[in-house]
Chain length 157, copies 2
Amino acid sequence: MSAEAFAPFGHVIETAGHLPRSINEGTCERFDDLAPVNIVGEGGRPLISIFQAKPCVLPHAVRTLERHPLSSQAFYPLDGRPFLIVVAYESGRNSPRTIRAFRAAGDQGVSYHRNTWHHSLLALGATSRFLVVDRGGPGANCDEQELEEPILVTTTV
Amino acid sequence: MSAEAFAPFGHVIETAGHLPRSINEGTCERFDDLAPVNIVGEGGRPLISIFQAKPCVLPHAVRTLERHPLSSQAFYPLDGRPFLIVVAYESGRNSPRTIRAFRAAGDQGVSYHRNTWHHSLLALGATSRFLVVDRGGPGANCDEQELEEPILVTTTV
């Protein structure tokens, strides 16, 4: 997936296309600020978690999307495997016409913008771990929406 | 390294020893809130970066430590390789007597507490990438301290 194509939905967390700066007396390159962590709402705080997801089987029927009104949500793959991204353009009721699917490479993470409709985590190939940065604290931070009709994701490229 | 031994210095980010909760209709296990992200100071914001560090060669002479007065700082290895952690107990002037070294496994991340003295990133074996969560924004967020005398880290177990 390209950062440009994904830009309406969030940030791609990757070194490609970014110039690092040298730190720690030249022993380390810092690819800085690849994704913000956007936390809103009384008492909200950023936190780091690990998700361990079973792989989905293609073709996969997408029936439901979710969004987080109080935070961005970032995923980075820890087992080097690609994963499947399904997102939707509209903030209102989505239909198959407004949906896009991406295949993130094993060295690409994503951070969904706050309020961006997306499918829950879809690992590919084998059970996979992801580092996740999102929000803890009070407040309802997950809206769900059923699609007007399911769409099938049949393949990834 | 064990979470218990590292507790004075920060959190170990790992699934071991944590009970997940099932999410996403049973397809995913969430190991929740393994490490907080602690950001203070006017205009501070959490951000996600990637560090790519050259490996250190053992024995490694530890001469300088750093600490971040305005944030925690979290590292998670993205290439599955162990890395070396050097931390110090005291908030004042440290000496070799107050220092501890750990070997983090390839499936262990760490989050240093705000204000904990630590060595800069020490990869082992080969150039390695790490996902990093720390702070952007105004304010001086890195203090450095030279040790009274260097200490040699000769081996990791």
